[in-house]
Subunit: 458 residues, 2 copies
């Protein structure tokens, strides 16, 4: 994620360099973080495809399993072109369930068949787990959980459970354990107790004997929206969240480190949507696919631009007699578009952060309209004087001033109203709202300016 | 952060409701999460200021300390208008150092004097800590650390240290402990060991006896940029990060839950900057202050819009003889603006996420230029035909088609180049880049379209 983490100046990323890493790994002298190696391996892939494939083939599955799950999706997608299905299956079996299912999912995006073969070579349990995790929708919490967790039953005593934990960790089955997740005999989720609390009790105690107020009980249904999980993590400062099914059976957990990435994904999606690009499409390798997706939004924008031109067309006679209008009219539209974008962006973001919601609609609209009126008056005065001095037509100054006020007002009003309505209708307020808004500000801008000109100047 | 967390339908947020909460708290029957209560208290503040102040005064310091640190900054800023300095000092003394320093900082924003009086009423140690934490710049890691952590020395044995931990937790001094941070006798940071590892060892062992490979050693200098901390958390999936001074003495720690908020703040800042609004200003209570800040950006936009108009002015004669040009010219500019914004947004975001950096400049520019040329050709064809059919002037179709290609090309090129150059120059590529870009696309759009028209049509 960040090149500060790697001394790109010093290390030369080469076949020899990675052979050295592999040697260290085999001699247990391995100290690098897989994330950094993933970054370097991606770099090698870009600089020398052959060396990249050579190293991937040479690398022990234990090591590649750690590195691969830190690699970007587009690299994971194509790993089946580099490695045999057998080796990938071997690597997959060494990953945590969430990383493994993500890898298989990514491979299936590029080569459905390879993904199937790899799955078929896994043991029944891994196969079942991965198929289950990949059966969730992208926005469901279940898609992000791992089923590796420290599960304890009410009648187990702390000491025994910790011995079990030790074994599970030595067998590389469990890692990043923050809690013991407590369940009944039939796997019903009761609550979790942090290790920091647990270790303060007498180890001969059974979990059933522990004071309930020491249990936390943050869980989420596997079908619920992952954004609800994000909210719980950020609001309640959780380290891990239990994921349960509709019968409150414990299925898995989501850990805090997954949430960082999800937050950034959500924010990226929002930022891109407002700019008329799709996050998924932008991650395509092919320039053609990226361009095609952007073209879709540009196409919509072209239609709205033509719409605005039709409005201008209504007043061609007026423009004919006052060319100054043609010179000035983009100013009104541009100012409206910018003021509207300011309002739209703030409203969309504050709704996303939960700082405001539908109940505050009146308050938000009032605030935005007030701001836009004040700024409308300000810039009406400025541009009115500028227009007058420029073309020496006093009434032209009046016309542009009034239309500036009208357009900034509508920019503030619609910049707030559009996302609020979309949100209320269950539509992502970031998607498409910019196009709708600029259509409004263009049409209102040109119509008010040229319309007023026709009335006042002719 | 999210109202799904509160049953706003069922609970009526009132004075009586909070008196009930306070009673529960006093009877140790208190089960709500402080975050939710903070949300509800903010709601009460909005609906009934008097009840809000009454409840704040009534609430025990222990409870209010938990709730207040979950409240937004603008509420913290004004708490000194509601509560006595003495009570606030009392509340502050019950907070973690990072929350306490944040509270004092927020109060000082609103009432410097009150902040000083409150500080003066704290014990020497708290005062020193808070002053130290608030001495950091907003972007320095030290500003986000807390000095409450589980510090152990090499010669201490595990069992004794855990006894100490138990006491520290019972005294409400420590919470959210994931590691033991190991230091030398003179507080030099050696490394950290996760509780999940620690508890698997024989408790009679000294920390000096533990195998070094069980230690993690992720630390950051207190003066380094907080964004580096964010990168370390997201890249290395950390739960906590040790903060050290220039002599590697352990000063404090940053925990994963702080990072969630910082990521969202960073993303909000970026999103707002691209839209020409300031995150800080948007959080002001006063509509006037918010509006003034937005006006600044609108003012800059007005200048660039006038610039574009000057370009149009060069061709008033051409427009006079072909009013169709006035009707069509906004289309070229608008398409350029949109295509450019797409490129700009993607480039800025991918640089921020570290997916691309200056070394990739050539690759990015090539990619964006290719996309913009392909889309340029596509929309040139479309709009060329439309313009021809509309005004029945074949050459007009040719003119707008060529200028569309030129403008989308410059949109792609500058949309990529502008943020890359800003980044290279150490300027935040999100700030101001949109204005620079739209200036380019407007000027190029109008100039190419009207210029070509003058050459070809006249």
């Amino acid at each position: 994620m960040d090149l500060k983490m790697i001394d790109t100046e010093e290390t030369i990323i080469s076949r020899e360099y990675f052979l050295g890493i592999i040697a260290d790994f085999k001699n247990d002298e391995f100290e690098r973080h897989p994330y950094d190696l993933a970054q370097e391996l991606v770099e090698l892939r870009e600089t020398n495809e052959d060396d990249y494939e050579y190293i991937c083939k040479k690398m022990p599955s234990e090591l590649l399993a750690q590195i691969l799950c830190e690699m970007p999706n587009y690299v994971q997608e194509e790993i089946s072109d580099v490695l045999s299905d057998k080796k990938i299956a071997n690597i997959t079996s060494k990953m945590d369930s969430d990383d493994a299912s993500m890898l298989i999912y990514n491979i299936s995006q590029n080569d459905e068949e390879a993904a199937e073969t790899i799955l078929s070579q896994l043991n029944e349990e891994d196969k079942k787990t991965i198929k289950h995790l990949n059966s969730y929708e992208e926005d469901e919490a279940g898609a992000y959980m791992q089923n590796e967790l420290f599960k304890v039953s009410l009648d187990e005593n702390i000491g025994d459970s910790l011995k079990r934990l030790k074994q599970l960790k030595e067998d590389d089955i469990l890692d990043n354990i923050f809690h013991a997740h407590i369940v009944t005999v039939d796997n019903e989720y009761i609550g979790s107790i942090g290790l920091e609390e647990l270790i303060l009790f007498d180890y001969t105690l059974k979990y059933a004997d522990l004071p309930e107020e020491k249990f936390t009980n943050y869980s989420l249904n596997d079908k619920e929206d992952i954004e609800d999980a994000v909210d719980m993590f950020t609001n309640y400062n959780l380290s891990a969240l239990a994921v349960v099914d509709s019968n409150n059976k414990l299925l898995g957990r989501i850990t805090h480190d997954d949430i960082h990435d999800i937050i950034q994904q959500i924010d990226t999606k929002q930022l891109y949507s407002l700019a008329g690009v799709s996050d998924d499409a932008e991650h395509e390798e092919s320039i053609y696919l990226i361009g095609r997706n952007r073209a879709m939004w540009l196409g919509i924008n072209l239609i709205t631009a033509v719409l605005a031109s039709l409005v201008i067309g209504l007043f061609d006679a007026t423009i004919q007699s006052f060319v100054a209008l043609a010179v000035l009219m983009p100013i009104v539209a541009s100012m409206g578009g910018n003021a509207g974008t300011q309002t739209l962006t703030v409203t969309v973001r504050q709704m996303a952060l939960g700082e405001i919601d539908y109940q505050d609609a009146k308050k938000i609209i009032y605030k935005e309209v007030m701001i836009s009126i004040v700024n409308g008056l300000l810039f009406a005065a400025v541009i009115g004087v500028v227009a007058y001095l420029w073309f020496n037509i006093p009434l032209l100054g009046v016309v542009i001033a009034i239309s500036m006020i009208i357009n900034l007002f509508s920019a503030g009003f619609f910049g707030a109203v559009i996302p609020i309505i979309l949100q209320k209708k269950g539509i992502d307020p970031a998607i498409g709202s910019t196009v709708i808004l600029t259509t409004v500000t263009d049409v209102v801008g040109f119509f008010s300016f040229l319309g007023l000109a026709t009335i006042i100047l002719l």
